[in-house]
């Protein structure tokens, strides 16, 4: 009972956080701000997936979370490298 309410409240808060990140991603005055917003977006997506796993009582969401964590880090690193050097693989 209390868990259901808490998880639903958490889902609502994470959705709001994702919308705020999306706003920064759209608006961000600089490319660095957009990369930062994307980085935050994938971390918050992992939190949302973990909450969905509790909500539906399924453990299958962890593989998705792990894949997003790895790919998100690689994406951020590649984008930063591109900004730093003008090239990803030299």
């Amino acid at each position: 009972m209390i868990l259901t309410i808490a998880v639903q409240l958490g889902l609502a808060m994470m959705t709001l956080a994702l919308l705020l990140n999306l706003w920064r991603l759209m608006r961000g005055p600089d490319t660095s701000d957009r990369i930062l917003a994307l980085d935050t977006l994938y971390i918050n997506t992992i939190a949302l997936l973990v909450l969905l796993g509790i909500h539906f009582d399924r453990q299958a969401y962890f593989e998705v979370a792990l894949i997003i964590a790895m790919m998100g880090f690689v994406g951020t690193a590649a984008l930063c490298k591109y900004q730093l050097r003008g090239d990803i693989i030299e």
């Binding site: 600089d30 939190a47 509790i54 964590a69 690193a77 930063c80 490298k81």
Partner: protein, 120 residues
Amino acid sequence: MLVEILVSAFVLIGASFALIGSIGLLRLPDFHTRLHGPTKATTLGISGMLIASGLYFSTTTEGISLHEVLVLLFLFITAPVSAHLLAKAALHRRVYSLAKQPENRPPPLTDRPSPSQGGE
């Protein structure tokens, strides 16, 4: 019942931290202050979520659940690295900063003109 309360508390604490990090990302004035929101608050937020999930699945299913530790460890290793890379790229591109700039600073590489350059 006790476990349920504990899981709920961890979920709410984690969601609050993540939301505060996102509000900081939206509201803070320049890039170098904005970098704090995601790298500190959001990492704490997701650790709260993952602890809650680990507690929940350790008590409802047989055996202890260790997937969460994997995600948590990975995020705790990679979040500082990506923050460092972002700060380095921002310094390289000389994004708009509220800090006092040196006199003979070269012009920024960014799309947005810097106010310290005299309305360029």
